[in-house]
């Protein structure tokens, strides 16, 4: 390991230890696991009776000598829908807070000057902070996901299989990437602001726009969403008819789709829902079919983090090392 890698690792361990020691990690874990447990528990109670019904059907079919038994329509991963949504909304706020704390802590303790007077480059500082945050956020996602799966198995009485575990793993990776982008938003906004609290407010403003407003705008402007059950379905139109009608509103549709595409949260949600069986239409897809179908969202899950990383690196390079008021 070279000196630079060693310094990055030292900074990353320091970041993780700071989160553990200040009890931030345990508090955030407590919040995420609690809300996930409540949502999975509520969903699992009803699911349990569906599992019992299906098993009764299988038993009676087998007793009756039925040769072709219908496969189970039940998917235990779908019980984690609440966890995915909480990670999308609360997880983003948590990540922003972590990013804010990374910068604010150094400013409050006046340790940034100590760090920068050592043989540490801005890139190493950014890399170390980022790696530490990956550790913290991965802990949050893995513990929350594991708690959700265990609860779904125990209360819902249905355990995930190996293939579902792989898809859950991919959804967890996407959740870590998603939260890391918001970590960068929090860190960049704070680093760019003279007063750390202003940076936090700016980052929360971005969260409001990206996670809550833009996805809602896209949904609200969708013609098909104007009637419960779908406008085109109510009109008796198939996919072809729908496409033909929408072609007359090309500019409107392009704008609406553009608004939706701008939301990183939407791409994360689409990918995660597909991976965790939340959407019926993907339930029979194999993993490769799913990845092929979702390549567009995967691409955005790569592009946004790269942009966030570039912004973070720039911010660490240009962040004022000297606290305001100490300039002379």
């Amino acid at each position: 390991m070279n000196d630079s890698a060693r310094r990055i690792l030292t900074l990353a361990k320091h970041e993780y230890r700071a989160a553990v020691r200040s009890r931030i990690l345990s508090v955030l874990l407590g919040i995420l696991v609690s809300v996930t447990a409540v949502s999975v528990f509520i969903a699992s109670v009803d699911y349990r009776s569906q599992v019992a019904d299906y098993r009764a059907y299988v038993a009676s079919a087998q007793a009756g000598g039925v040769q072709r038994i219908a496969p189970s329509p039940l998917r235990p991963l779908s019980l984690l829908r609440g966890a995915t949504e909480y990670l999308e909304i609360i997880g983003a706020v948590i990540a922003i807070t972590l990013g804010y704390l990374t910068i604010a802590r150094e400013r409050t303790n006046r340790t940034l000057t100590l760090l920068r007077s050592r043989p540490v480059t801005a890139g190493e500082l950014a890399g170390g902070s980022l790696l530490g945050a990956v550790g913290i956020i991965s802990t949050l996602v893995v513990v929350t996901g594991t708690a959700g799966v265990l609860l779904a198995g125990l209360v819902g009485n249905d355990w995930i299989n190996a293939a579902q575990a792989v898809r859950l793993g991919l959804a967890a990776v996407s959740a870590v990437i998603y939260m890391m982008v918001f970590y960068c938003v929090g860190a960049v906004a704070t680093a760019r602001s003279k007063v750390a609290a202003s940076g936090l407010m700016i980052a929360l403003g971005i969260w409001l726009l990206v996670v809550l407003i833009i996805p809602q705008l896209g949904d609200t402007l969708d013609a098909d969403n104007q009637i419960p059950g779908g406008l085109f379905k109510a009109l008796g139109l198939n996919r072809e008819g729908e496409t033909q009608i929408l072609s007359h509103f090309h500019t409107y549709e392009t704008t609406r789709v553009g608004i939706e595409e701008a939301s990183f949260a939407k791409h994360y949600e689409r990918f995660s829902f597909a991976m965790t069986d939340v959407l019926d239409k993907y339930r029979e897809y194999s993993l490769s079919q799913l990845l092929h179908e979702k390549w567009h969202d995967i691409a955005w899950l790569v592009v946004y983090p790269l942009l966030a990383l570039a912004a973070l690196w720039q911010s660490f390079r240009h962040q004022p090392t000297i606290p305001t008021g100490d300039l002379q």
């Binding site: 310094r7 030292t10 700071a18 020691r21 200040s22 006046r110 000057t113």
Partner: protein
């Protein structure tokens, strides 16, 4: 245990040539020329806002000068940042360290960042050297200002730098703390051979600990000489304080 002298041979520990710095429209350092030899304890005097901290910020590579040139141990602070940071220790004013970590953990972190291989030995030696053993495994958040300052010094010397920069090191300390710090500075200079560059506006400190002084007034270096030479040059003055006031008054008179 000694700080090893490295860098280009026979170069001064610190050198400034026509060094200027500007914050927006305010010129805070004006073409400062200064050379400090290795092994000195240099006291940089000046009123609040004179430009002392700006000079130290440039020398510790935290900011780049807007004009002129500065070097530490012969290495340019702008183009050879890595070389400089390997040779310096720095204690800013009012540093708080990481409150959730123990003194030992704080030191281990900074020692590792400085590239030390045997971190735990270096930290233990430093804690012992500064008589900080009883503080080692306590969280820094529970420390008094004096204790924090001792750990601050420890982080600054854990990697045995050649030049130690201290910015207003006695600020917030009680008389006992000030005396301990003074003794520590003298020991570091005498036993480890460190050059010490100390910013202060307290003349009593300078008179008791420094070998050389420089006086900065509104960004201009108006005086630099040894303590002995200074007191013999101003024999009529009762104390260093009188000398300092006279220098600043002379400088202000010359400016008007």
């Amino acid at each position: 245990m000694n700080a090893t002298t490295t860098g280009p041979a026979r170069t001064p520990a610190v050198e400034l040539r026509q060094l200027s710095h500007r914050y927006d429209s305010q010129l805070v350092l004006r073409s400062v020329d200064l050379s400090i030899e290795r092994g000195e304890i240099f006291g940089f005097l000046g009123h609040n806002g004179a430009g002392k901290t700006t000079a130290v910020n440039i020398l510790t590579t935290l900011i780049e000068p807007t004009a002129g040139w500065a070097s530490v141990c012969g290495f340019d602070v702008v183009t050879a940042r890595s070389e400089v940071t390997q040779r310096i220790g720095y204690l800013p004013s009012d540093v708080r360290m990481y409150p959730h970590l123990t003194a030992r953990e704080n030191l281990e972190f900074f020692a590792a960042l400085s590239g030390l291989v045997d971190v735990s030995t270096a930290v233990s030696e430093t804690l012992d050297y500064l008589d900080c053993g009883p503080l080692a495994d306590r969280r820094v958040g529970s420390f008094s200002t004096g204790m924090r300052q001792r750990i601050g010094i420890a982080q600054a010397i854990v990697h045995r730098p050649e030049v130690l920069f201290l910015d207003e090191p006695t600020s917030g300390l009680d008389p006992v703390g000030v005396r301990q710090l003074r003794e520590t500075i003298q020991r570091l200079n005498r036993e480890l051979g460190m050059t010490v560059f100390m910013n202060t506006h307290l003349l009593s400190e300078v008179a008791k600990v420094c070998t050389t002084i420089g006086v900065l007034n509104h960004g201009e270096l108006i005086y630099k000489d040894t303590i002995e030479a200074t007191t013999s040059r101003f024999p009529d003055e009762a104390s260093l304080e009188d000398i300092y006031v006279k220098m600043e008054a002379t400088s202000a008179g010359a400016a008007t």
